[in-house]
Symmetry: C2
Subunit: 380 residues, 2 copies
């Protein structure tokens, strides 16, 4: 193991692929005749298969949540600081699974993969999916792995929505839902940001109605803008002020449209990095999964009624400066859970880092997760 790797890394990991040849009926009414789910596992499943955790990824994440694919990788998986021997999601105690969601672009069936019916890429013909569709596909993966019930389903942001939906769609197959920096549905403002991001992609001349693969181009300009805009909503006003302030890149203003302020450099860098690693059709699709998520609206009943089907225990975590999914949004979830007499632990973490906090090793946050996971480990 090279020196740069921390001692508690899961080390080298290899993604696996689950091919499901059973058709899946989607919320939109369409049916996928078969599909692939790419996933990674860390740790060891115990003999009675009671120590399995499912980690759900958010908008731009994937199945590669911890460790390295090669020792040359610049970065480990996206939640590496949380997963490994001795870490909060302790691979010495838990068997941890994370999959790339249906419609994603990291190997699971989605816009970039081949439609078995006609041999062409799905592209824009890939149907729009919902959080419930993801839960169903993840349940198929659980079947494949022989996991009857997850000890916990865990996720931040859109991942938290999946954890919530597991509790109501598959109440017998989840013991705990760990819902971090999430909301029971998007606000109009949340949808508005997604809409501007989508319009940036949809109006990019290289989008070609989603058939850009056939033109050997990508709507890079649009995807880059979408990502830049996303990053504004991931940080808090405070954290941006602390990180960048009004610092000038060259110590002075130049009276032109090059990079002048540090925040401009940061956003352009984030946008540039994203292009090339993510597919625009997948990005569009996943913003729609977010917008559509609204169990109350879907079921035409109150959130408390939605959760009347849930049986598991809950840990809900929010962050003080998260203006994308504020603590007030988490409290709506908690209220609905309490109305059903469910066991709920709640932690509101004081953090200056906005929505992105859920990816950070903030001591108070780590402590909340760790003590919850210790309790779960003790119950095994």
């Amino acid at each position: 193991m090279p020196e740069k790797i921390d001692n508690n890394s899961v080390g080298l990991v290899t993604p696996e692929k689950f091919h499901c040849s059973e058709p899946i009926s989607l919320s939109c009414g369409e049916v996928l005749p078969e599909f692939d789910i790419v996933y990674e596992c860390y740790g060891t499943l115990n003999s009675n298969k009671s120590n399995a955790l499912l980690i759900c990824h958010a908008l731009s994440g994937d199945h590669h949540v911890a460790g390295y694919h090669t020792w040359e990788d610049e970065k480990p998986g996206w939640w590496d600081r949380f997963i490994g021997p001795g870490k909060v999601f302790d691979t010495d105690r838990f068997f941890i699974v994370c999959c790339n969601n249906l419609g994603g672009c990291s190997g699971s069936t989605g816009p970039t993969t081949t439609n078995p019916i006609n041999g062409n890429r799905y592209g824009p013909d890939f149907p729009l999916v919902t959080v419930s569709d993801w839960v169903e596909s993840q349940a198929r993966l659980a079947d494949h792995l022989g996991i009857e019930a997850w000890l916990a389903v865990v996720g931040g942001s859109l991942g938290g929505m999946q954890a919530m939906q597991w509790s109501v769609d598959q109440p017998d197959r989840i013991k705990n839902a760990i819902v971090i920096a999430a909301a029971p549905k998007l606000t109009a403002q949340n949808i508005a940001f997604n809409e501007v991001a989508r319009q940036a992609i949809l109006t990019d001349p290289n989008f070609f109605e989603g058939r850009y693969y056939e033109h050997s181009v990508q709507p890079d300009r649009g995807l880059r803008l979408a990502r830049m805009l996303g990053h504004i909503t991931y940080l808090s006003d405070d954290s941006m002020a602390k990180k960048f302030g009004r610092d000038l890149r060259q110590g002075k203003i130049n009276f032109d449209y090059g990079v002048e302020f540090e925040i401009e450099r940061y956003l352009r860098y984030q946008g540039d990095q994203f292009v090339g690693r993510f597919d625009a059709n997948s990005y569009l699709l996943i913003t729609k999964v977010l917008d559509y998520y609204d169990p109350e609206g879907t079921e035409k009943c109150s959130l408390a009624e939605v959760f009347s089907r849930a049986k598991c225990d809950f840990l809900v975590v929010s962050f003080s400066t998260d203006w994308r999914f504020s603590p007030a949004r988490s409290k709506k979830i908690i209220k609905a859970l309490h109305d059903n007499g469910l066991n709920v632990s709640y932690g509101e973490v004081k953090s200056s880092q906005g929505h992105d906090s859920f990816l950070m090793t903030i001591p108070q946050y780590i402590e909340i997760i760790r003590s919850y996971m210790d309790k779960l480990a003790a119950s095994l």
Copy 2:
């Protein structure tokens, strides 16, 4: 006067043009050999020329602040509800002037006008200007109108920054500064939003490095995105929730990228309306005026030291849900004014409508302005 026109309208108005043949030295170091300023006036200048108000416009505003150019106009000027006989800026008592700022696109010299040196449109060669440059050009207009000192310089948002800058650049020519929904400088988050808007325009394939006029196209896609994004920051999360919520345009989700939510319709409409009425080079330039505004940074001293040159009285107004320029930002201004022993009135208006509140006739807001203006009228 047609029936649709309110009784307190200033009625039909005609813009005028002031040609300044004296060169103006800009903050960036460049010199404009001559320039035009388009402006409108309402009311009557009294004999001792002591009743003149200068209204300063914000990002997308112009000189047409009240009344109609023709009776067929769909809408009156952008602050018509505030300006007219008996209104808060009472044309029976005050002589009111508003000009299109240098670099704008409504007739004043800017990217869309002709460079007298080479006979071509300025386009991207028009120099980037600052709030101080605007103050200087407005002072030239005051000279032209024979106004030695404004009774008040008034503005919301970027307009408020002009009012502030008047107080320090021209302390002997301003009696009152009315600074509404403004800030002493942009935060990193404010700059970030401007940067995404700019990148949308700059990366539009129809931008042609600002020389799109020569190609008979406009970077409409980029300008539309910039405007959509702007509108998110003008409204509060609350006002969006109240106005649009998660209302579906057709009562159901369609699993496609057409308009599904009302907020999407609103943003697309706002974007579409803006394209065609505004110039992309001017938009870029004015976002830079905003980003650059930072008297502390420019003068390398504290805000209190900046305001040590000010002599006028101040009315500062902020709005409770304005997250673009929050009340906390106004209080920074007030602190610096108080440190100099200046007379400051402050009103924090309870409003759900975010930054856009400054354009609305909110009773508490109207009352604050009216009582201040009554005091000024009494002093005449």
